[in-house]
Amino acid sequence: MMPPSVAGQPQPPLVLLLGRGSPFAAAIERRLAAEGYRVALQDAAAAPDEEVSPAAIVFAPKVPRATGLAETVVEEALLELEEALVAPTLVVRDLVARRGPDRASRLLMVVDWAVTGPPGATAAAAAMGGLVGLARSWALEFAPLGVTANIVLVGPDADPAAPARALPTLVRPPSAEDVAHAVAFFLDPRAGSVTGQVLAVCGGRSAAAMPV
């Protein structure tokens, strides 16, 4: 089904998916294509292409390697963190903040479970936490433009390449398609009153935990 146009975009609307290499990129691409979007898949760290006018931007960033604090090389962790935060900032600066009515009106950040602070994950926790802080700030600053910014927090069992875990989820562990379903929800023009939110797709792992 073709979605209604978003903020005056010509049909079919373009989604910029900045997540080449993400374990969820393929499923997100398939799901959005099935809903009638055009999807342009690029590297998470790609520089903004000023020629394009996506209706939505989905960030599915790389997760830094998990190491304990004592083993973390701070200089390397800071460089990774800077890259993780600078790239999406420049994208929204150029494709949202500096644009007119052809700006992207849906921003979505897909973050890893590391934001919940597992032990031994200093660089990963910092990067994912930073991205949540960015997306929440976008929600506030872009609200007057009618632009929404939300976060999908993916449980630790969703990556098919990750080792199987012994801990049970409350309900079935999420698949990449479940992540794509959440992405499709936030991109829908009918989700225009939802912004600044974190939706955990985690099989219920966060159900009895403090919110991030």
Binding site: G68, L69, A77, E82, T89, P119, T122, A125, G129, G133
Partner: protein, 254 residues
């Protein structure tokens, strides 16, 4: 000197850090300071001057402070912010704040951790912000503070079994030079927040120091991974514009 009473406070020369140092000195701690600015409060038990955005210089300064013995309490206070609309965002702002607000904390915890592990005791307090929930005109800053909140959770779990707690204090609108510099009194994003504080005032640095002192106490031994907002109620969400004036008028009517 009882090594358990040595506490390192970063960013000790001004603002919230200065108030924390003064409070902890008054409480009887041996307070060690780290700052780029040498105009530090009276009564410090030690001080090292360093630009904490420079990892090598920071490691050297921390090594000097550790010559006096292990440091089993740490307040990662140093930090800054820059008011910047996303339309004007630069990589430089984000890189600076990552190094200042996050690199400093990583380096300090790394330096004091062996002593805490050896003592089977440690208290780490990270100064975050209400901006962990996002802040317009401050996205680079909010990102670093949300990252520090995630680090607080991760470090709390990583060190919990060693008797080392790691918690965060999240200030709201606090009366400091940095606050005044970054918050023009008539800007809409500022009045939305200052006008929406349920306590109808901004906070004082000593009120942050009170929360920090709580987490640092030996008796606060079963609390870890938590964030205590010291914000006059603002982290509940600002009251809508005009609501405080209505409430004030109702108060006057009795």
């Amino acid at each position: 000197m009882d090594p358990a009473q040595r506490v390192l406070v970063t960013g000790v020369a001004t603002g919230i850090g200065r108030a924390i140092a003064e409070r902890l000195t008054a409480d009887g701690y041996a307070v060690l300071g780290l700052d780029i600015d040498a105009a530090v409060p009276d009564g410090l038990a030690g001080f090292a001057q360093a630009d904490v955005t420079d990892p090598a210089a920071t490691r050297a300064a921390l090594a000097r402070l550790l010559e006096g013995g292990p440091i089993t309490r740490l307040v990662n206070n140093v930090g800054s912010s820059r008011r910047e609309y996303i339309a004007d965002a630069t990589a430089e702002t984000q890189r600076w704040l990552v190094r200042l607000n996050l690199g400093s904390a990583m380096l300090c915890v790394q330096a004091v951790l062996p002593g805490m592990r050896a003592a089977g005791f440690g208290r780490i307090v990270n100064i975050t912000s209400r901006a962990v929930f996002g802040r317009e005109t401050r996205s680079a800053y909010a990102a670093t503070k949300a990252a520090l909140a995630a680090l607080t959770r991760s470090w709390a779990r990583e060190f919990a079994a060693a008797g080392i707690t790691c918690n965060a204090v999240g200030p709201g609108m606090i009366n400091t030079d940095l606050f005044r510099r970054n918050n023009p009194a008539d800007a809409p994003d500022v009045t939305r927040l200052t006008g929406g504080v349920p306590m109808r005032r901004i906070g004082e640095p000593a009120e942050i120091a009170q929360a920090v002192a709580h987490f640092l106490e030996a008796r606060s031994s079963y609390v870890t991974g938590q964030m205590l907002f010291v914000c006059g109620g603002l982290s509940l969400g600002p009251l809508e514009p005009g609501r405080n004036a209505e409430l004030e008028a109702a108060d006057r009517l009795g």
